[in-house]
């Protein structure tokens, strides 16, 4: 089962405000790009040698924030009430 199909089962209240921003200029210099392997929701994708990030499926785990060696990620929680909303947990 693909991650995107799993995310489609989750309940999200996606905010218009973006809670994570990535300074992709810094990413160019980043060799290992650990954000890609640590993100369980595949929010970080490299397209044509360029880092793209989408916040919509974020599970708010905080892994990318800790893994990024370059401080390229500006990370806060979504506004109260928005984001992932687990029904089981």
């Amino acid at each position: 089962m693909k991650v995107e199909d799993k995310l489609a089962l989750n309940k999200f209240d996606v905010d218009r405000d973006v809670h994570i921003t990535v300074n992709d200029v810094v990413c160019v210099e980043c060799e290992l790009k650990p954000c890609v392997s640590v993100c369980p929701a595949e929010c970080y994708v490299i397209r044509e040698n360029h880092m793209t990030f989408s916040y919509e499926g974020c599970l708010e785990c905080g892994s990318c924030r800790i893994a990024c060696p370059k401080g390229a990620i500006d990370w806060v929680y979504p506004r109260g009430g928005f984001g992932i909303c687990y029904q089981y947990g």
């Binding site: 640590v38 369980p40 892994s63 924030r65 947990g89």
Partner: protein, 428 residues
């Protein structure tokens, strides 16, 4: 600005415990939770043992929404094809509170927060605290968007990522070595199918932990818990190992589901939810400052989690630390003193009870558990020995010691294994 006797950030087990005890003592308490409802942001394995919760809510199982009691506990070594398990089942009738309770957070946290409200506190969900109000080195309240709420005592129960304790300098940024990442699926199955496959009935339930190929030998493990009409299945892996190997936890959980022994248990099940969360695993080594003027840090925010490899105890530590923080605040109100000196009683309380004692007892565990042989070599070894012992090629059998030595092969010496066993004895 509205003022409270105490403000609690986060309505997980730590925050609910703290708020409940303070509200019961007659204090005017505000709990702020960023989820749409308490539990909306939380996931876990998970099961907890009852005694600590019972201290907070005597007889809680009569009304709390738990899924099942743990009546069978299995620990298994996995290779890609084999499984070798130690399966523990006991018919000794334990008093209810001593049992393991399997719960789902979205329901359980909601229930806990209702108890907090019944005790007289205000639980405001859908509000994320952005910052603390700090004046002259003293925490005076919290900021939520444009709004501010004042209090002499702020209890941080904001979980593993605790942005707030980092912001006010109680801790440094975490290292990926200090964290494990857990990913989990809820897989729905009819109740009868679960009871049939896991050989349980009524409210009986099974807790299973796995070591070996489920993490491709990386430090961590797999888990499976039976809920009423679903199973919680997941893997937990050292964050730094995911970075170093570029292996994704999302791939590991798929492999785990496809392992022949697992696939058979979840056959026909429908995934209903996919979740992820971090666990602070370095214990005392990563513990932040637990208090400062006007502020106390509890639960995961304070890295109060005990991971000995086989068990992961977070909920009980969260509840116990929340209660200790509440007692400290109650005393501070009596003395009208919220200084760092007075609040240091919080740490004293934790030292006197099991929270810091257990973390001290198991202080070598985190380092021991980074040893890759535990996740790679030993599961392979155990399974290959079992394969040799339980199969026959028609030739005379060798004695067990010889089988062991052959299985170890070139990968490790008997000495190394003996030394690991001694270390395990010391650490665990």
């Amino acid at each position: 600005m509205e003022e409270f006797d105490a403000i609690v950030v986060g309505a997980g087990p730590a925050g609910c415990a703290a708020a409940y005890v303070m509200a019961k003592a007659g204090h005017n308490v505000l709990v702020l939770e960023r989820g749409k409802f308490p539990g909306a942001k939380n996931m876990w394995g998970g099961a907890f043992f009852g005694p600590v919760m019972n201290e907070l809510f005597p007889g809680f199982w009569e009304e709390a929404p738990f899924e099942r009691f743990v009546t069978r506990h299995a620990i298994s070594f996995l290779t890609e094809q084999d499984i070798l398990s130690i399966d523990y089942k006991s018919d000794v009738t334990e008093p209810a509170e001593k049992k393991g309770f399997i719960t789902l957070r979205a329901k359980f946290d909601k229930w806990m927060s209702q108890k907090v409200e019944q005790a007289g506190a205000i639980v405001a969900s859908g509000l994320a605290v952005d910052d603390l109000i700090v004046e002259g080195g003293v925490v005076k309240g919290v900021k939520v968007g444009d709004e501010q709420f004042a209090s002499n005592a702020v209890v941080l129960a904001d979980g593993v990522n605790s942005l707030l304790s980092e912001k006010i300098g109680l801790r440094k940024a975490y290292s990926p070595h200090d964290m494990k990442q857990g990913v989990k699926e809820i897989i729905r199955l009819p109740r009868e199918v679960i009871e049939d496959r896991f050989n349980i009935s009524g409210t009986a339930g099974v807790a299973m932990e796995f070591i070996g190929s489920c993490t491709r030998g990386l430090p961590g493990g797999g888990f499976m818990y039976t809920n009423l009409d679903s199973v919680s299945l997941g893997v937990v892996v050292q964050l730094s190992a995911l970075m170093d190997t570029q292996i994704k936890a999302s791939d590991l959980i798929e492999d785990f589901k496809n392992h022949p022994a697992i696939a058979q248990l979840i056959k026909g099940g429908q995934t209903a939810e996919y979740s992820a969360h971090l666990i602070p695993v370095s214990g005392l080594k990563m513990m932040p400052k637990l208090y400062d003027n006007g502020v106390l840090v509890t639960g995961d925010a304070a890295s109060l989690v005990l991971g000995t490899g086989l068990i992961l105890e977070g909920a009980n530590f969260a509840v116990a630390s929340g209660m200790a923080a509440a007692e400290t605040v109650i005393e501070a109100h009596r003395k009208e003193d919220f200084t760092r000196d007075e609040l240091s009683n919080y740490e004293k309380r934790l030292r006197e009870q099991f929270v810091l004692k257990d973390l001290q007892t198991f202080s070598r565990a985190p380092q021991f558990l980074e040893n890759e042989r535990i996740y790679q070599l030993y599961p392979e070894l155990a399974c290959s020995m079992a394969r040799k012992i339980f199969s026959s090629d028609g030739k005379p059998r060798e004695n067990t010691f010889k089988v062991l030595r052959k299985s170890l092969g070139k990968q490790a010496s008997m000495w190394k294994m003996a030394s690991d066993m001694i270390k395990a004895g010391r650490a665990l």
